[in-house]
Structure formats: structure tokens, C-alpha cells
Amino acid sequence: MTSELRPETSSMSEEAAVLCVHQSLRRCLDAIEQHQEEWSGAILECGPLVRSLSNLAEQLQSCQKVTFSKTPLSGFTDLQDRLRYKLQAAVDLTLEKLHDEMCKLQRVRDSVSHQVGLVLHVYEVNGEKLGLEASLERTSHSPSIADMLEWLQDTEKYYRNQYLQRKLLLEVRHNQLSDIKNLVHSWESLNDKFTAKQHLVEDMLLNVSFFREATS
């Protein structure tokens, strides 16, 4: 009812609220575009590392299976232990490198969560002034605020899930060699499983490209 009494001020404050939310959305989307590059870069780096980890596990398995004393290697008494030690060290080194990459993924996840949280906060603060219609309104070049907020939440969830699943995969123990050996399949299946969702972030960025240009 108040809007009928003071139509001008109401539309003014609604406009200001829309602008405020739009700007905060744009800032968040800009940041996500940059983070997506970092993310895919880190995932790309992980591929060869995971493969070499699987390969090392296979070598360790063979090293354990072979009875050295029954082979031509019997003359080298401490060879098995020495080889195992070297292979373990190589596993540790690879895990360390993977850990560095995981840290990059974690940073992306945290930063995106933070940015999306900020946008939602701005939306909540301006929620009353904004009104339902303004939130749902969309034009040919700009999706609705509600849509964009939903996409942002999906994106945040995607990064969170991906990070967690990959992190859990890498929680391997040295004695579970067959697990490490199969790691490469589970790691890649994580990519495959999400192929439909893999482009989630890219698609969202494409959908909002006109909006970002218009508000910048």
C-alpha cells in the first residue's frame, strides 16, 4: 500500500537496490571467471601426477610380489628394501605435488564460497526494497536476479563437491596399493561423471556475458 502512496520514492529505492545487487553480482561473476581458469589449470596439472601415482603403485606391487631370492637378483641382498624405499619416496613426492594442486583447488572453493556469500548478503539487505517482481524480471540481455543467484549457488556447490571428492580420493594409505593403482580411474571418472556439469560454470558465464557487459 505504501508504494501507492509514495510511488516515486519507492521506484527510486527499488532501482537503487537493483543496481546494488546487479553490481555485486557482476563483481562475483568476474571473480568466478578468473577462478574457473585457475581451477581448470590445477585439474589439468593433477592428471599426469595421478597417473604417475598409479604407475608407482603398480611398481610397488610388483616389487612386493617378486621373491627376489628366487630370481637372478638374489645376489643383491638388500635390493628389495632399497627399491621399495625409493619407490615410496617417489610416491611421497608425487603426493606432495598433488597436495599443492589441491591447495589451489581449495583456494578457489573458499574464495567462490566467500564471493557468493557476499552476493547473497547484499541481496538479503536489499530484499525488502527489491520486491518479488524485480527479482524475477528478465530482459533479452540480462537474466533475472533470482536465476543468477541460483546459478551462483549451483556453482558454489559444484566447487565444494568436486574439491571434497577429490580430496577424499587422495586420502590413500601406502599399504593400499590396489586403491592407489585404481586411483586414476576414479579420478578420471570424477571428470566423466560430471561432464554434463563440467560446463556448468562456463555455461553460466556465457549466459551472463551480456549482463556483465551492460553493468560494467
Binding site: E58, Q59, Q61, S62, C63, K65, V66, T71, P72, L73, G75, F76, L79, R82, L83, Y85, K86, L87, A89, A90
Partner: protein, 247 residues
Amino acid sequence: MACHLISCRFLSQHAEQFLVATRRGAAFIPFLVVILEKQCSGEKSKITVTPKKAALTGSARKIKDNAADWHNLMLKWEKTNETAFSAASRIVNLKISVQSYEKMLIDDTVTAHENTGKDKEELEGLCLQLLELLEKMQQIQLKMEKLTSTFKGVCDLEAYQCSGENPRPILFHTWPTTLFYETSLKMSEMYKKEISLKAMIVGEIAHTSDQDLLMVYLSCWLYQPYVDNSIKVLLESMLLETGHRPM
């Protein structure tokens, strides 16, 4: 000595006049002119007047060169090892594919015989290549042993020169000469053991059908279990001590 000191002080006090005079007269020892020029501009450009340490001679020279040789030999070893590893892994891949082919023949899944002769030729070629590379590595290892014996020689010479009450000199920073020999011996022993392992692998790799054992051969070749990780520290310490690496 006192006279020398006075003349030096005098020279530095009147350096500029001296320079002008000598340039005009052009009858001064060039070496002194250089020193004077440095003294004149020394404050501004902060040129260190300390002359470069005289070129090493005798035992120190020999030890420094040996340290550099160790570095180069180890690089060469690593390079040859990589090439040899790719040959060895090709042998293993060929062995495995031939094995599965033979198994298929027994199972009557395939009948053709064309490839077997070609495979054998390739296998022989690769074995020869691996053998050559092994010989190259054996030569490198022998050179390493020679370096160690040179260190031993330097130590013996020093022991002979310093027999009696004379204290043994420290040729570089902190290492006594014997430490160079001990380090070199330690490194040399690692490579000696490693080359005997490699020689054994070269002899067996093409005659094994056990895939796990083949895998162990390859891991051994690549990860060199007898060359300890500490070898890098040993080499770097030697390079640091002899001044090849800056402090």
C-alpha cells in the same frame, strides 16, 4: 718494510698528482697506475682492490678439478641412464606384446606368422643398443673410480709431506683433504654397486617372461636403488667447499 709502508701512504695521499704526472711522463709501471686509478675512484665505485686469489696450484687445483669432473660425470650418467631406460622399457613392451601374441597363437585366436621375425630383429637391435649404453655407463663408472684414486693420491702426498710434526693444511674452507677422498669413495661405491646391478639386468631383461620381474627390472633401472638420495648433498657440499658454488 717500514719504508714500503711510508711510500704506500705517500702514494695514496698524492695519488692524483702521481697519476697526472705519470700519464704525462708515461714512464710508470702500468700495474701501479692501475692501483692508483682504483684508489682515486675507489670511494665512488666501491671497486674492491683485493686482487683475485691467485690461481690454484698443486693439490688444491687437482681437487677442484676433480670436483668439477664428478659433477660432469654424474650428469653424463643421468643422461645415459635415461636413454638406456627408454631402450629397456621398449624391450619390456616388446616382450609383453610377443608373449600375448604367442598366447593367442596357442589359443588359435590368430594364425599369422609375419610379425615374429620382425619383432625378433627389433628386440635384438634394442638389446644391442642397451648393451652399448651399458658399456658407456661402465666407462663413466670407471672414470669415477679413477677420480677417487686421484683423491687418494693427493691424500697420500699430503701425508708424506706433512709426516712428523707439520700440521695438515686446509686447502679450501673447512674440509681436510681426507674428507674429499672419503666422500668420493662413498659416491664411487654407490655407482659401482649400481653398475653391477645394471649389468645383471641387461643380461636378464630379454630372457624373462615374468611380468612382475620385468617391472622390477625397469623400476630398478629408473630409480637406481644403490645410488642414495644423499649423493646430491655429497656432491653439492664438495662443489661448495671447492668454490664451484657460491657461498
